[in-house]
Symmetry: C2
Subunit: 161 residues, 2 copies
Amino acid sequence: MTSPLVKPDPKLDLVLERDIDVPVELVWKAWTTPAHVRHWFVPKPWTITACEIDLRPGGVFSSTMRSPEGQEFHNIGCYLDLVPNERMIFTDTLLPGYRPSPKPFFTAALLLERRGSGTRYTAMAIHGEEAARKRHEDMGFYHGWGTVLDQLVAYIKQSMQ
Amino acid sequence: MTSPLVKPDPKLDLVLERDIDVPVELVWKAWTTPAHVRHWFVPKPWTITACEIDLRPGGVFSSTMRSPEGQEFHNIGCYLDLVPNERMIFTDTLLPGYRPSPKPFFTAALLLERRGSGTRYTAMAIHGEEAARKRHEDMGFYHGWGTVLDQLVAYIKQSMQ
């Protein structure tokens, strides 16, 4: 069943698209395995100190990020739509089990397409209001998600291939 | 794949459970067909003047309710989890395509169980905060959802059997 994912709206959404030279299967595995996520999911020298994944719609996707000064930030959301090696949609507007979150912010969509031995990698942050898009951009979306993608590719090449 | 639906929390959630003497298949059909929804989905003398259904995760579920004085209220949300004749979960915290809603309120779960020729009907409103549960209760959740269920059963008996 196809998912009626919205077309990105430049006023509301942020999109990072890049061709990377690692296969879709390893990208999917790196995104869906806590032991892998910890190695690349936040720009260094920040670290991931915890990650929980229940890979089914309604299941938890959470991570705890620690700053170099030791301050921790916990992110929690739930998966909405999962097609292995193709599409992952999750949101922090809902907690696991689809309970509305007291702090809704955005929905994330990761779209993967096989390109030879590599991957067309598209990551979208979908917001409900322009102010949320702007806040996310000001937080450093492009630099942050771009750095994390560099780390993901380097990690796959060093440790998963 | 089972859905990790939260157990209802009395502080946060509202639950209506009742055994009704109409079959699950007709309850499901009445809930998922706009032409049927219009006949029972709001306590009379209010009316439903429009209803849109795209029955897949991420798809729209919207309705427009009109008061006897002619004032209209538009509700829009998206489906999250659908198992025909068993389970329907939708939320107004997300718009169709999983875009965060500017006015999030609650997630609804409809659970159906066959009981002979009838149905164990459970409807849940799942909130993120106690204040939202209280607001929903003060809006007349039990009376409203109970009346709508009476109307649903009467409609099925009169027009669908």
